[in-house]
Amino acid sequence: MSQPVSETAATRPPAGGWKQWVSLDNRYIAPIFITCILLAGHLSFGILESYQKTLLAIVVSIATEMVLGRIFFHKWLHPASAYITGISVGILVRSPAFWPYALCSAISIMSKYVLRVKGRHIWNPSNFGISAMLFLVPETVASLSIQWGNYLLPMVVIWILGSVIIWRLRRFHITGIYVASFIAFAFLRSWITGSPWQSEIAPITGPMYQLFIFFMITDPKTTVRSKAWQCVVVFLIALVEMVMRLQQIVYAPFYALFIVGPTAMLIEIWIDSRRASLAKAAAH
């Protein structure tokens, strides 16, 4: 995950007086929200077997970002984005070993610098890192799926808070379309497989999806720019996920985003490039 920011402090008009204190810089909203999820999950359900592992993921993530940012952009980058990636890895990766947390964070951040097309990175960092770990070392790594309470109240709190924040960041349509698509496809899957519809709905009521729908799929750096296309792309993610679910792939949402997200980005980059070429040709 990266930072879901559509509006930064630099672009907002300065607030004065008490508003300065209560109006939070958008760069901090997502990190604070995800930290709250982590703390609430841990204090109520003990989702982290080890604070050290999460801390390791965060430290490696930020350190990698700092070093690479310095090398390639010649400046110290704001750590908010790397913090979100690190904390996401700390929550979503489940492994008894320490090294997967460090490796996943490092791979996630490095993917932003290595896998670039026309100056844009095309994979959501933590989606890339976690998918790679699940694919490469399944005997050591799993993802958060059931290590959280199955009770409704914590999820309702996360849904409300998450929705408010995502709304403020003007990306609620992405989450909304995905959830609606998932539910529709759940009923379709139930009809196709004969499984109880409740079992098909069940995953989205679990903790893994809350991070997925509020942070991963809304990442502004790795989603297409047009609002309409964002809706189309997120619908396609849900569609590919459904196809994968019919193949009984446990981590279907991660893999669906892994495939559809970059594909959409590449198409957009190609269209932009073509438009630029055409504009350039027309100018001449």
Binding site: L103, L136, V137, Q198, A202, G206
Partner: protein, 598 residues
């Protein structure tokens, strides 16, 4: 070439290297494991000091466990809800000095078996003639395990039958037969339990009985009023069966006192074990729970205090299925082994090896999970495990059985399992919402683990090398010197599978010593008696147990491996009554029968 481009190339190479590193490491580890598994009995004996040979058929044991068929409403997920019941316990029920084997069956109408040791290498099922076979009759539920303890101190071990159904207590009539005394004892009409242990919690010389419920006791699994019988959370469930502590009143009757003395839990218990963890002289109680955290109850002799979180064992919820104690470092302190679930890429809970933290003791004792550090973390869908010195080298090894549901090898239920298990409690808690099994496996056909303690803080899996290559759905493990040879043999009860008897051949270079204890002021079974062996400047502590592991009970006698050329200093016995007895330089390579001094 610009500096930026070079930096980008270097970064790309490092990136690819990081992605490839786990694959390379994995390949190297796989090659090492393959090397370890390639061996024969002679090589195993030379390299590991022992090998195991499965001899059940040759020994006259031909038992195959049958699973229950519960209410048809549960048919779609019957393999899952009927996945337990195979239990095994070791007892010398006729006091002839040879260990016998009691094994449970779980289909309505199926028979349990009591294999009498014929002392000639063979066993004979005498359960029918002695009245402890036909105990799974319609309307009474089915057996899920058994534990033996001499509750009336008459010298003969009595049988408590753990059931999903009507729990049963059988009085041992001098080794010639059994009399059912469940009603006289005051047992409740129905408990859906998977674990029970005998222990004398209050030190009055009479064995008490702990029973841990799994499904709620108001559920008759054969006649369901509702399908909302499943846990309401995969890791935080509190809608399981209640716990019972039956205080032995001494007149053949028991009083249920759990709530009165501080045991009040509705977690889904699967295993329990008791030992004096703090040196107080009172047995503390460890309960491993499915769908939640483990519980540790400190016992002050009158009341229990739940200290799971305080001690560190009760914070991270997993799927506890085993509780076994072992002094794995020869330091006179017990570690606790709890088995959980690990399935590649889906759920890596890892088993727990709770080791006392250095510098902590008494009421302030804290535990840390060192399963990964010692190499006993990943064991598949783990069930029963027991500590025992399998090669008599002087350190405790660990035998673990595993495998949940082995049906169609090519189809897995894991996808559907993980889908529902992560969902909201209203979904997970209702059996109707679970997709049908349709013949699929769930962590089936798994390789067992025989972890050999190298004495230097590492356990190495040698299962394949020493001859343990079955892939049945293992449940209960019990260790016993079945043929009085000074070697711990292994008996494994498998769900819907055969009872396996692994006969152990140990290198004769390694010596051993065994103790058979008989309480007088203490309970006659000497459950809770603690023997500390001192030899070669080291020590190891073991305690007589009234049930440990999963649905299992080891032999009553204590077995110590001593290694080569042991210089034995002494054995110190602390009886449950508090008496301390020291035996100077007991002879190696023999069984010592010790009666509690007056």
């Amino acid at each position: 070439m610009s500096g930026s481009r070079i930096a980008r190339m270097v970064l790309g190479i490092v990136f690819i290297g990081l992605l490839a590193a786990p694959l390379v490491t994995k390949r190297i580890s796989a090659r090492r494991a393959a090397d370890r598994s390639k061996t024969d009995a002679r090589t195993a004996l030379a390299r590991h000091g022992f090998y195991l040979q499965e001899v059940s058929q040759a020994a006259g044991i031909n038992f195959v466990h049958q699973a229950p068929a519960l209410d048809p409403k549960l048919d779609p997920i019957m393999p899952e809800v009927a996945s337990m019941g195979a239990g095994v316990s070791i007892v010398d029920f006729d006091r002839d000095g040879w260990s016998d084997i009691y094994v449970t069956n779980s289909a309505i109408g199926s028979k349990n078996a009591l294999y009498r040791n014929q002392r000639d290498g063979n066993f004979k099922d005498v359960a029918g003639e002695l009245g402890v076979a036909d105990v799974n009759q319609p309307g009474t539920g089915v057996s899920t395990g058994a534990v033996w303890g001499d509750y009336d101190n008459d010298g003969y071990e009595d049988l408590f039958l753990i059931k999903w159904g009507r729990p049963e207590l059988f009085h041992n009539d001098g080794g010639h037969g059994f009399t059912r005394v469940s009603e006289q004892a005051g047992l409740p009409p129905w408990i859906n339990a998977n674990t029970a242990i005998w222990f004398d919690y209050d030190g009055d010389g009479l064995l008490d009985l702990f029973v841990g419920g799994y499904y709620s006791e108001d559920i008759d699994l054969w006649h369901l009023n509702t399908t909302r019988i499943m846990p309401d959370s995969f890791e935080y469930a509190r809608n399981g069966g209640r716990k019972y502590l039956f205080h032995n009143l001494g007149n053949g009757r028991f009083e249920e006192v759990s709530a009165k003395i501080g045991i009040n839990s509705r977690r889904w218990s699967l295993a329990a074990a008791a030992a004096d963890l703090r040196g107080t002289g009172h047995p503390d109680l460890f309960v491993a729970n499915d769908y939640g955290v483990s519980e540790l109850y400190f016992n002050d002799g009158k009341r229990f205090h739940e200290v799971g979180e305080q001690t560190g064992v009760g914070f991270a919820p997993k799927s506890g299925m085993n509780a076994a104690f072992g002094d794995i470092f020869n330091q006179g302190r017990y570690s606790v082994y709890v088995s959980n679930i690990s399935e590649d890429g889906i759920l890596i809970q890892g088993n727990n090896l709770w080791v006392p933290k250095d510098g902590t003791e008494g009421d302030a004792i804290k535990y840390q999970n060192l399963a990964r550090d010692f190499g006993v973390e990943l064991g598949g869908w783990s069930f029963g495990a027991q500590f025992g010195d399998l090669n008599n080298d002087g350190t405790l090894d660990l035998y673990l059985t595993n495998g949940y549901i082995s049906l169609d090898r090519s189809k897995s239920y894991w996808y559907d399992f993980s889908k529902v298990a992560g969902g909201n409690s209203t979904i997970i808690g209702d059996a109707r919402n679970w997709p049908a099994f349709e013949g699929r496996s769930l962590s089936g056909y798994q390789s067992k683990r025989v972890w050999m303690n190298d004495g230097a803080g590492k356990f190495v899996d040698v299962a394949q090398a020493v001859g343990v290559n079955d892939t049945y759905d293992g449940r209960a493990v019990a260790l016993a010197d079945l043929w009085n040879r000074g070697a711990l043999d292994v008996v494994v009860a498998n769900q819907k599978g055969p009872l396996l008897v692994y006969k152990n051949t140990v290198t004769p270079e390694n010596e051993w010593i065994e103790f058979e204890l008989q309480g007088t002021a203490s309970n006659r079974s000497a459950i809770g008696a603690r023997v500390e062996m001192f030899w070669n400047g080291q020590q190891q502590v073991q305690e007589v147990s009234g049930g440990s592991g999963f649905a299992a009970e080891n032999q009553r006698r204590l077995h110590f491996g001593l290694g080569k050329y042991p210089q034995i200093e002494r054995a110190v016995i602390r009886w449950p009554s508090g008496k301390v007895q020291t035996i100077d330089k007991p002879a190696a390579d023999q069984l010592h029968t010790v009666k509690e001094p007056a």
